[in-house]
């Protein structure tokens, strides 16, 4: 939203002061990269200085890429919950970049200026945020990267799920569901998104287990439920025979299911989603109601992140790369998984 806002107002011609700012920014960037090269920072991430603030607490700044994604809202909620379990940690208000990398860079810089003890970040995009992570690293702030990666080694720990593996599990589940072969359709997230690419490649690898399965339709539905509904309606009106739909997230799988249900074709088509959020109207509930065949809970990593931060301030060794496992959600275990991941009644 804000991105658009900027381009719209950016058409106002204000060339001269702008140009001067650009030159200054360029000089600053050159200077910083010169320092970076001189200190050779990028290989050795710093440890915490081990001194808590005046209230005896270590301060954490968390830079979130986009609060409006249900998954990320869940991450925030869980992180607030888990950080409270450590009395020596204090989480500053989580910053929301509204899916805007430029905004996230400035928010990270604010955390650096505030001299947080540990920086947590879920980068909006890898390339633009790499520099921000490096600057935190140069300021001797340990960085924990959550969910999406950056293109530098200058962080202390990365925690994230394995989207390729999730896609592969979904593909294998589809292959198992259609033992005699069948037609599969895939609803894809935004094509340039890394999780989309990984889930897609994983899925294609997974369904190879059953050579009789054909992928008859694939289209980008941009992670959005109404888009998926519209696309599914077009496929079905077209006379495309579809036995199973894989949605790269639960919203798209549910959107397709709504379309099929509207045409009374939902009983002959199976739907597989991904994310498995424990929220009303989320994937786990959809599995319980029989709308989805199965979903794969994508871990938030909040619990691991809080523990990693605690280890960092206690100067314990932390693993550089922590890959989180997914949990398949079926009708059998749905209630149990929901209860385990439900944070709506736990204090934030």
């Amino acid at each position: 939203m804000n991105q658009r806002l900027r381009t719209r107002t950016g058409t106002v011609p204000r060339t001269r002061p702008r140009a001067r700012t650009y030159v200054r920014a360029l000089i600053a960037v050159l200077a910083v990269s010169g320092v970076a090269a001189a200190t050779g920072c990028s290989s050795k991430p710093p440890m915490a200085d081990g001194k808590p603030g005046p209230d005896g607490k270590f301060v954490i700044g968390y830079s979130q890429s986009n609060n409006a994604e249900p998954y990320r809202a869940q991450v925030n909620k869980q992180l607030e919950y888990y950080v409270k379990k450590y009395p020596n940690l204090k989480l500053l208000p989580i910053s929301d970049a509204n899916a805007n990398s430029a905004q996230q860079i400035s928010q990270v810089q604010n955390f650096i200026k505030k001299k947080v003890d540990v920086l947590l970040i879920s980068p909006n995009e890898p390339d633009p945020l790499t520099g921000a992570v490096q600057r935190a690293c140069q300021a001797h702030i340990p960085v924990v990267v959550l969910d999406r990666d950056v293109k530098t080694n200058c962080y202390t720990s990365f925690i994230g799920g394995d989207n390729y593996k999730i896609g592969k599990l979904a593909g294998e589940r589809a292959a198992k569901e259609l033992p005699h072969g069948g037609n599969v359709a895939e609803l894809r997230g935004i094509l340039s998104d890394k999780p989309q690419i990984d889930r897609h490649n994983g899925f294609m690898a997974g369904i190879k287990k059953n050579r009789k399965i054909k992928v008859v339709r694939q289209r980008e539905a941009k992670w959005l439920r109404p888009n998926a509904t519209q696309i599914m309606q077009q496929w079905l009106r077209n006379g495309t025979k579809i036995d199973l739909v894989y949605g790269h997230n639960d919203d798209m799988a549910i959107g397709a299911q709504l379309a099929a249900k509207g045409m009374h074709k939902d009983k002959s088509i199976k739907f597989i989603g991904t994310d498995g959020l424990a929220i009303d109207g989320g994937g786990i509930r959809a599995v319980q109601q029989g709308d989805l065949l199965e979903t794969f809970a994508y871990p938030t990593g909040a619990k691991e992140a809080a523990r990693t931060v605690e280890d960092i301030v206690r100067k314990k060794k932390v693993k550089k790369h922590q890959a989180l496992d997914t949990q398949p959600v079926t009708k059998g275990n749905a209630e149990e998984v929901y209860k385990k991941n439900d944070f709506s009644h736990k204090g934030g």
Binding site: Y71, N163, G189, R217, E220, K222, R237, D280
Partner: protein, 407 residues
């Protein structure tokens, strides 16, 4: 007053002085008489082209009632927004906040059903009130505080989205409230607002899909409002020339506040429809819908300079956009090309809708140099060209803006 201020659908061709002193005069006069008719037909031509494209490529599927229901239903909320935006555009303003306000109303409706189990007959009017309140503030800011409507509604876009996200705690809210395994009666009712497969008036041949009914209903009601009432004439007058309108005794402030309030009201009405369509309200619902709404208005012949346009035209613009989407989707055209084609169509539509431009084109094609006798009325080429540029770029922006990745 020139006749650009009369509520003729996209027609503004003041008959120029008939310099009839050569043998072609009779023919030219006839051409001039036909031109206004052609001008008002050009919106329909775009629709005909899209429909033909659908028939040629996907005849059996495209020409079914079910497919039209799908296509119009998917765009209905944006089509309703477009009607509201057209009202504002006619007064030479713009309403960028409609998408956010709709999102707000969509979230409010989902919360009313899911958390309070309220009946539909309460939810819809309440949402319209919420929307109207946002619109009223837009109107007051524009008419009284003299903030440019672009700026005022841009701010409101941000405010409404922020409130929406705050209200929902950034979480999507479902509409399917269950008691045990079954939906509650009110949640069952709510589905009839737009969940695919649920109709209203089911006694009549299986019923009508509500979003389709709502879209056409809003178009007809607001067409009548603009073409048959004093208020409608005032709207055109304010857009055509606010000073002249004021001098002729029209309460310009009231008209401007009223059009913004109506635009908000319609955005509020679109909210529950949008929530029912997905059986859920997303905190980002309606993002960039304002651009589709403006595109529909512009394709339908509205000039961003004000005073020119019609609700029927906007309705046709919305139909062109959604049927084009549908035809391209049925043919499995990649979404990237869909964006490009949408942008190109907007530019072409705007060119087609400008009789002055068409005339000079024709003159140039004929090789004649008759001089600038038949230029359009109050809308200079500058204003219209501006509208073409901004709406052309709205195509690509509208699709790519919502970067709601799930993980």
């Amino acid at each position: 007053m020139t006749d650009t201020k009369t509520p003729a659908p996209s027609g503004d061709t003041p008959l120029p002085d008939l310099a009839a002193d050569d043998e072609n005069a009779g023919l030219r006069a006839r051409v001039r008489r036909v031109l206004p008719v052609l001008g008002s037909m050009q919106g329909y031509i775009g629709l005909v082209v899209v429909v033909l494209l659908g028939i040629v490529t996907q005849g059996d599927t495209f020409l079914t009632q079910a497919n039209f229901t799908d296509a119009i239903g998917a765009f209905a909320s944006r089509g309703i927004l477009a009607v509201g935006v057209t009202l504002v555009i006619l007064t030479a303003g713009i309403d960028l906040s409609v998408g956010s306000v709709m999102g707000m109303a969509s979230m409010a409706s989902a919360m009313m059903i899911f958390q309070n189990d309220m009946p539909v007959w309460q939810i819809v009017p309440l949402c319209m009130l919420i929307g109207a309140a946002f619109g009223l503030i837009n109107g007051i800011g524009t008419a009284w505080l003299k903030i440019q409507s672009f700026v005022m509604t841009l701010a409101m876009l941000s405010i409404a989205r922020g409130l929406d996200k705050q209200l929902s705690n950034n979480q999507a809210t479902p509409t399917q409230l269950r008691k045990g395994a079954d939906l509650t009666p009110h949640a069952e009712q709510f589905q009839h607002l737009g969940t695919p497969g649920f109709n209203v008036f089911e006694g009549l041949h299986g019923g009508i899909y509500f979003p389709v009914l709502a879209f056409f209903g809003v178009v007809i009601v607001f067409h009548l409002l603009l073409s048959r009432t004093t208020f409608g004439r005032h709207v055109y007058a304010v857009g055509g020339n606010p000073t002249a309108a004021r001098l002729s005794g029209i309460n310009v402030t009231f008209v401007i506040i009223a059009v913004f309030t109506l635009s908000g009201l319609l955005a509020g009405f679109a909210g529950p429809i949008d929530a029912a369509y997905s059986a859920s309200a997303d905190p980002l619902a309606g993002t960039s819908y304002e651009l589709d709404a403006i595109a529909a208005a512009v394709i339908g012949g509205a000039s961003l300079a004000g005073g020119r346009g019609s609700i029927i035209g906007t309705g046709i613009g919305a139909l062109i956009l959604t049927l084009l989407d549908n035809v391209l989707g049925l043919n499995d055209v990649s979404p990237n090309w869909q964006l490009v084609i949408k942008g190109v169509i907007v530019v072409f539509a705007v060119v087609l809708q400008r009789p002055d431009l068409m005339r000079s084109l024709r003159r140039r094609l004929r090789g004649g140099s008759a001089g600038p006798s038949g230029s359009a009325g109050s809308n200079g080429p500058g204003g219209s060209a501006g509208s073409a540029g901004s709406s052309g770029s709205s195509g690509p922006a509208s699709g790519g803006a919502k970067e709601a990745a799930s993980a």
